[in-house]
């Protein structure tokens, strides 16, 4: 098999950890696989470099930030290559440029445009383990670019896609994807498999194993993604297309998002264009609106509710002030969003009903509800968050 393995910052956080990673890579090679490794910077390095830059400027030049930040991954890739080489394996370390990773020109948040698969393929065919510095590429003009947060995952998925690898393993300090956060519900179980779409919902809901961008890319490129821990030998969770999962559970997981705040506008004039104006304003202020609820109004006015990330609440308040409208605004940070996710919902009815029943039996009031084909999200008072997660986990028998 051709396997792309990606190791995150904590997995290569010390020299001992890099040694451990080298052994794991060597084992996969000994098992008869061709291996491409993608590495992050040693944990803390990127933040250190960012703090250096911010010492000089609150708004450092983005092009130079990329030259700066790309250094950390280069160091790790060289070190891992040296370690593997010492163990007797022929290796080639590669920068993003050398791996043929071309991006657009948007420094510090570039998107991968193409990968010249020949760069890596040539070295694999020569019998080498290839170690690629993640998180980086080059623009058409040959400038160094970086891919933003989670960029090394993206590098790995894009390389796996370009090489048509059999597997792309993302190593972190977490065993895989769980039915819910085990710190909240100790009975949470690790999932063997999950579909891209479910993972996308979970990722956007705050299950921090993988970022949305990487899962989206894996789905688009049809890459079989495995998330697992570099600290043990447990099998991880395979994220793959729905067709590859024989038995679809109705509900795969329950997620809790504590980073939401609710905004309620009362007395919004009920005529076309008003909502558009409000959300255009928020968009201009770079506020990421999540759930939006508009009730049927009366007396020519309506109430409009939506949620925003807590750390964007100040931005939201400024935007609302600039709106200059008649409505009154209320803010509530003491809320959380609980969501249940599962592709099985598509073909099963009564899923939402079970959720509402369960929370009602616990005396939890639903303040907002939003549903998609494979997800039901409910906003409730923050103090009930953990209770709601445990109750729902139980109701859908996720511990079985």
């Amino acid at each position: 098999m051709l396997i792309v393995q990606k190791y995150g910052g904590t997995s290569v956080g010390t020299l001992e950890r890099i040694e451990a990673v080298a052994k794991r890579v060597a084992k996969a090679k000994e098992d008869g696989n061709d291996i491409v490794v993608v590495v992050s910077a040693m944990s803390g390095e990127t933040n250190k470099l960012i703090s250096y830059a911010e010492n000089f400027s609150n708004n450092p030049k983005q092009r130079e930030m990329d030259l700066l930040l790309s250094a950390g991954e280069r160091v790790t890739s060289a070190l891992l290559s040296i370690a593997l080489n010492e163990m007797g394996y022929p290796t080639v370390a590669m920068s993003g440029r050398q791996a043929g990773i071309r991006t657009d020109k948007f420094h510090t948040k570039a998107r991968i445009e193409s990968i010249n698969r020949l760069c890596i393929e040539k070295e694999i065919n020569g019998g080498n383990i290839v170690v690629v510095a993640g998180f980086q590429g080059v623009t058409e003009l040959g400038e160094v670019s970086t891919l933003g947060r989670g960029g090394s995952d993206l590098s790995a998925v894009a390389i796996a896609g370009a090489l048509e690898a059999d597997l792309c393993e993302i190593y972190t300090d977490v065993d895989g994807v769980y039915t819910t956060d085990p710190r909240i519900e100790p009975k949470a179980k690790k999932l063997d498999k999950i579909s891209y779409d479910e993972m996308l919902e979970l990722a956007s809901l705050g299950a921090k194993v993988l970022q949305t961008r990487s899962v989206e890319m894996a789905k688009k490129l049809n890459v079989n993604l495995v998330t697992r821990s570099s600290f043990n030998d447990n099998e991880g969770t395979l994220i793959t297309k729905e067709e590859n999962i024989m038995e679809q559970p109705v509900v795969s997981g329950v997620a809790l998002d504590r980073n939401q705040a609710r905004v309620t506008l009362r007395g919004v004039t009920d005529k076309p264009g008003i909502a558009a104006e409000i959300f255009r304003k928020l968009s201009e202020s770079n506020v990421n609106v999540d759930m939006i609820i508009q009730n049927v109004g009366h007396d020519g006015t309506t109430n409009l509710g939506f949620t925003v990330p807590q750390n964007e609440l100040d931005l939201t308040k400024d935007a609302m002030l600039e709106l200059n409208a008649s409505q009154s605004v209320e803010y509530d940070s003491e809320i959380v969003k609980v969501s249940i996710v599962g592709v099985g919902m598509k073909s099963h009815s009564g899923v939402a009903c079970t959720a509402f029943d369960t929370l009602s039996r616990e005396g939890i009031n639903l303040e907002m509800i939003s549903t998609s084909e494979i997800k039901i999200s409910m906003v409730i008072a923050a103090k009930y968050g953990e209770l709601a997660v445990r109750a729902l986990h139980d109701a859908y028998k996720l511990d079985e």
Copy 2:
């Protein structure tokens, strides 16, 4: 003027130091100059990366070492560019590759083969201060290479040569070139000017301001080199061609080299080819022989003396054992080499005589003597080293 400024590791050793360097660069720009800055890694960084690599291997893969070691200078160049940009100056940070520096393929000790002056020139013509990561380039195949110890000086001199810059300033933590080491002779004076050839002799004699390779390149490319401190505003020392120095002092400086050991071979068969065999053997063992003295022999044998660096004495002993010859060998580490250097010697007689007289008056025995057109070197007992330096400094009135 077009000025290339190079800042070494201690000059950019902390964020405060980088800020100070930014101000110095800005001042030179405000004075109406075009500026190219070449930077080293922050002091300690390169050694840290080397120790990381050595954690994994005693003989790390050289190609990966270059990917690893080139990271430090990239960080500094990005940071300095960000700092200058924040102060309102348009800047461009460049890796060795982006600066058009092409080297041969000998990783970790590459030689600069060419510089594409258009890369930097384009940015200067656009009004930018260009900040180049020193110490690095790329091979013909596009692999990252580094230039070995003192490599950032080489980058600066080579860039100054390629751009036909008016001046190449090498900033360190030392004010310039002194008539001798001020820690030995407090009356030592800083030289305003010195010729390339004198500097070459002083550099090879252990005056650690500049490395021989950089001075050689400056001479070859006719680059006016200034060495000065980044910690004060003192004028430095200009290193230039002899014709540019109006008044040539007879003697420019006195140097002390403590890193020598003497080897004496007694009873060497006095026939052609014997000396050649000995020095071929040493050369094969990578021993850098410095002074060589052969006296007229008698009885068909002769005595052969030479000096080697102290840290190569073990290599030398091994090589001598393998020679399998009849001569007896003596080793003496308790010696130093004192040298006086000056282009004026060419046209003045009696210079050597003064040196011998001076040391004799101090009761110091000369164990070996070697002279070149602009240098007189004398091996003496180690304990007299400092005394000899002070006496010679006095004798040639170098404090006046």
